[in-house]
Amino acid sequence: MLNRLRRILGIGWIVIGILSGYYLLMSQAIPKFQSGQAADKIPALIYAFILLPLIVGSFLLFGYYALKGEYDQPE
């Protein structure tokens, strides 16, 4: 029963990964790219090319593994 829930929630983690990527892009990276200030360029690049792939990638992979039953436990 719990293993089924763990697997089903895998889809949820994938969705959270995509949503968090969208949120980081819209709330942090893009406004900083568009601010026109030189000091904002570095954080914008760090958000877009380091933090975003790391966070999104972690959730997507975790969700994928959960969906495949990699985190199943003996019941």
Binding site: L2, L5, R6, L9, W13, I16, S27, Q28, Q37, A38, A39, D40, K41, I42, P43, I46, I50, L51, L54, I55, S58, F59, L61, F62, Y65, A66, E70, Y71, Q73
Partner: protein, 465 residues
């Protein structure tokens, strides 16, 4: 392990050598942040876009990029050549970088070389910090008896908080013993110079320590990894635990830690406008009262398991943050006579009430942070332990925790602006308490981490030797 040879005294020496070094590394890392305003005037004067860029790079890159990179670099080294020499190296690197930051001439003396040097030294600090924690936690855990790892590694867990406490204490003491002008002119360098003495003592202590017995045994039997990075992150069996450690534990722990120790200070200083020195004193008291609970929860985790102590800390934080910050705001308003003045000085009763409210937050930190070193150590085998535990720790803290100021500021600014627009248009205010909106970031992240931890982390620790 030391217990098997009956040397409890030896275990205390291991803890002392490891904890003092880690504490100094945290101290070194924090004094830069605590003195950021003075450092900015000396090396990154306002109005120059290039300097502004370098300043931002120093702030962002040290926490977000270099710390995880340091975890990978030194983690790999620690799994290849041993824990002792690796975390000795991180200590030397951190101590020298910190001392040298205190020696770099101002921008007015050597021009652009000054900010570039400070930036490079700050990056080295981030690199060293990334390598230190995993080494110290692994080293202590590999000396400790299996059933007592929570208690012994909890001493390492106190170092981040005590390091913050020490940095505030040193800065307040130095400031208190000279005029404001002298402090701004050269006195700010003293906390950086002091580091070299503390690091020197710590190096002498660490040099006398032996290599981890579990690492030595693994090396002797040829069970160490020839490529820890590959084994940690490309082998699915290990990598899925790296992901679980990150999303089910360190991510939630990171935001609870940053909220209790940094966001609280920022809220008190910037939202409530409490005078800077009083705000620092207030945080120091809360840290002092809460620190013993790191040891308590580490010890308790040996008795009842680590998972539910950490997850309870996250859940309590999720449930209590909004009421706690409402109470903090109301305390500030009461002290200000119904409004918040430009600089608020708390009277004794409200000061201690505020200390209690911050203490509760740091108490949650002790629940999530006290047992986590033992939890991480037990999740991975000796051959790849340093590498595998360091990365999720520094991503959880450096990235998920480090994002807190930017996202919380974004959320609360957005709410304040929406209220101002509604006020101009004579519409009902969309946010009743805009100052609480920033808390949604730690609340959401800690909730997600709680659910992942509760469902996917096994209740019985996987004690891999």
């Amino acid at each position: 392990m030391l217990s098997s040879s009956g040397s409890r005294k030896g275990l205390v020496s291991v803890i002392t050598a490891s904890s003092v070094g880690t504490l100094i590394e945290w101290y070194d890392f924090y004094i830069f942040g605590s003195l950021a305003a003075v450092i900015a005037t000396k090396f990154f004067p306002a109005g120059n876009p290039t300097l502004s860029l370098l300043s931002t790079l120093a702030t962002f890159a040290a926490g977000f990029v270099v710390r995880p990179f340091g975890a990978l670099f030194f983690g790999r080294l620690g799994d290849l050549v041993g824990r002792k020499y690796t975390f000795l190296l991180t200590l030397v690197l951190m101590g020298l970088s910190t001392f040298l930051i205190g020696c770099v001439p101002d921008f007015s003396t050597i021009g652009y070389a000054a900010p570039v040097l400070v930036l490079l030294l700050r990056l080295l600090q981030g690199l060293a910090l990334g390598g230190e924690y995993g080494g110290a936690a692994t080293y202590v855990a590999e000396h400790a008896p299996v059933g007592e790892r929570g208690f012994w590694t909890a001493w390492i867990q106190t170092t981040a908080t005590v390091g913050l406490f020490l940095s505030l204490l040193v800065i307040i003491t130095v400031k208190g013993n000279m005029s404001a002008a002298s402090f701004t002119a050269w006195g700010w360098r003293i906390p950086f110079w002091l580091s070299i003495i503390m690091v020197g003592i710590s190096i002498l202590i660490r040099l006398r320590m032996q290599e981890s017995p579990l690492f030595l045994a693994a090396k002797k039997s040829g069970q160490t990894s020839s490529n820890p990075l590959r084994d940690s992150f490309t082998k699915k069996y290990n990598f899925k635990f790296v992901l679980l450690a990150l999303l089910g534990a360190t991510m939630g722990q990171g935001v609870v830690w940053y909220t209790g120790q940094f966001y609280a200070l920022s809220f008190i200083q910037n939202t409530l406008k409490v005078e800077v020195a009083q705000a620092s004193q207030l945080i120091m008291w809360a840290l002092l009262f809460a620190t013993p609970f790191f040891i308590f929860f580490g010890w308790l985790s040996d008795k009842i398991g680590r998972k539910w102590i950490m997850l309870s800390g996250m859940l309590l934080a999720v449930v209590c943050y909004r009421p706690l910050y409402t109470a903090m705001y109301e305390t500030g308003m009461t002290a200000g006579g119904g409004a918040l003045p430009a600089t608020l000085i708390l009277d004794s009763a409200n000061f201690w009430k505020m200390v209690a409210l911050v203490f509760i937050q740091v108490f949650f930190v002790t629940m999530v942070y006290g047992p986590i070193a033992a939890f991480l150590v037990e999740l991975f085998p000796t051959a790849i332990r340093y590498t595998s535990m360091s990365l999720p720790y520094h991503i959880g803290n450096g990235i998920f925790g480090g994002l807190l100021p930017a996202i919380a500021t974004y959320l609360s600014t957005k709410a304040t602006l929406a209220n101002e627009i509604a006020l101009q248009q004579q519409l009902p205010l969309p946010y009743e308490k805009p100052y609480l909106e920033g808390l949604w970031y730690p609340i959401v992240i800690a909730t997600v981490s709680f659910v992942i931890g509760a469902l996917y982390i096994r209740t019985t620790p996987q004690q891999k030797d």
